[in-house]
Amino acid sequence: MDINIEDVGKGKKVSLSGEIDMHTSPELRKALLKLTKEKISPIIIDLKNVSYMDSSAIATFVEALKSMMSYKGSMRLCNLSPRVQEIFAFAKLDRVFTICKDIEDALSR
């Protein structure tokens, strides 16, 4: 997994690529919790190049989302592949997260 973080407006865009699993999700957790500690908002997560995601990835997003709730921050996920979309839907999280088509859509919310 690779993590790339860029400024977008007042917030940050976090672009992820590769496989997010029990091995790699601790690094994602560290990166996201660093942003939420700084009360960054919005955090836009670009999942375009994510080829695999397991329950530890989902747990990491849930944890970051919860920590953003404390400062009313907004997390937006975008560019979900059909499989990743299906995983969020299966976990009944597709309504909990703000899921956007692409970066433009995420920026305009």
């Binding site: 699993d21 029990m22 091995h23 695999y52 397991d54 329950s55 530890s56 919860k66 976990a91 909990v96």
Partner: protein, 137 residues
């Protein structure tokens, strides 16, 4: 070259999370040889990955230097995966995931396993935990 009527293979890895990706690629390649549809390959891959992650977390309590064996058998009517470890005996073998209405990290792995497989059987035999997962085709 005639295809075999039954596919059988196994992989043994250390209980380090870095090897999970090898289990996944192994399973993916194997299932593709058998012409299973992509959605099923993805579901089975996720489920086996979650089951191995649970072995590392619960049976081995994050000791990354133990061993996990994943055996695989597939005939025209079913896929069977057996995951073995020599870790701790589970306190409770119900392995309940969390209620999905409850928003908290964790508790999803068993849901992925139940989604992919029709039967889940846990046994402990002479110090070996054996999780048998069966999917009808």
């Amino acid at each position: 070259m005639k295809k075999p009527l039954m596919h059988k293979a196994a992989i043994t890895i250390s209980s380090h999370p870095m090897y999970l990706s090898i289990v996944r690629v192994f399973l993916e390649k194997l299932l593709k040889l058998m012409d299973l549809p992509t959605y099923m390959v993805e579901d089975l891959k996720s489920a086996v990955d979650e089951a191995c992650s649970n072995v590392i977390k619960y049976a081995y309590k994050n000791d990354y230097e133990r061993t996990i064996k994943v055996s695989f058998e597939c005939t025209s009517d079913k896929v069977e995966v057996v995951i073995e470890d020599r870790g701790e005996k589970p306190a409770d073998t119900e392995f309940q995931g969390r209620d999905l209405r409850d928003l908290k990290p964790g508790g999803l792995g068993m849901h992925f396993i139940r989604k992919a497989f029709d039967e889940i059987r846990f046994r402990r035999i002479r110090g070996i935990n054996k999780l048998t997962l069966m999917r009808r085709l």
